[in-house]
């Protein structure tokens, strides 16, 4: 399951949805907005997503994850809109009977989401500048 959210992520609630009798291991990941990147002081972030394409790609990522790892359930919620330092930008959770599949499944999902999903991040800097991450330096 993949969702975009315009509001604060409720990580504890999300984690509870991965708790059922067959589960022996739950691994969760929270990506948090930090105050620096590439030597620059970051004061805020803005995420933008192409929702229909992201939903389709996420479905493929979850299917590929299930093929490779013996996970029972996996979820990811990604924020869009303006975020402050310390906000959770992305939450991933994977549960399995055993820890190895849960760890590897969670890692696979966040890595693939970062690499493949049409989501963009704009950084706002302390000097008033701003820029789209991965787009500006190659110009």
């Amino acid at each position: 399951m993949f969702q975009l959210s315009t509001t604060t992520l409720q990580c504890d609630e999300l984690k509870r949805t991965l708790s059922f009798a067959a589960v022996g291991a739950v691994v969760t990941f929270e990506g948090v907005v930090r105050n620096h990147n590439d030597g620059r002081e970051v004061v805020a972030l803005e995420y933008e997503a192409y929702e229909d394409l992201a939903a389709g790609e996420a479905k493929k990522i979850f299917a590929q994850c299930r093929q490779q790892f013996n996970i029972l359930e996996a979820k990811c919620v990604h924020r869009v809109g303006k975020l402050s330092i310390g906000d959770v930008a992305v939450w991933v959770g994977a549960c399995a009977s055993h820890r190895d599949d849960a760890f590897r499944g969670c890692r696979y999902i966040i890595d693939e989401i970062k690499a493949r999903l049409p989501i963009w991040k704009k950084e706002y800097y302390s000097n008033g500048d701003s820029g789209w991450v991965n787009c500006e330096k190659i110009i």
Partner: protein, 83 residues
């Protein structure tokens, strides 16, 4: 020469800012997304070369050389940075 097609183009992130709008419908003789991007890049001075972009056709990743059909929705995908 084929009749011009009506193509829906949506823009995100840096391309949206450089174009100054999130979407538009374009009448074009471009036969492929590659040709369409070349036209739009010249018109709007987009900074990103196609080597840094992917393309989406009707909400799925597609090929730069796919033939465009009338009413297609095309999105040029700048380098992503989720997470």
């Amino acid at each position: 020469m084929n009749d011009p097609k009506e193509i829906n183009v949506r823009y995100y992130a840096l391309l949206r800012e450089q174009r100054g709008c999130p979407s538009e419908t374009i009448k074009t003789n471009a036969q492929t997304p590659l040709e369409l991007y070349a036209q739009l890049r010249q018109q709007y001075r987009f900074s990103l070369d196609t080597s840094f972009l992917k393309v989406s056709l009707n909400d799925s990743f597609g090929s730069w050389n796919s033939p465009l059909q009338d009413k297609d929705t095309v999105v040029f995908i700048p380098p992503v940075a989720g997470g």
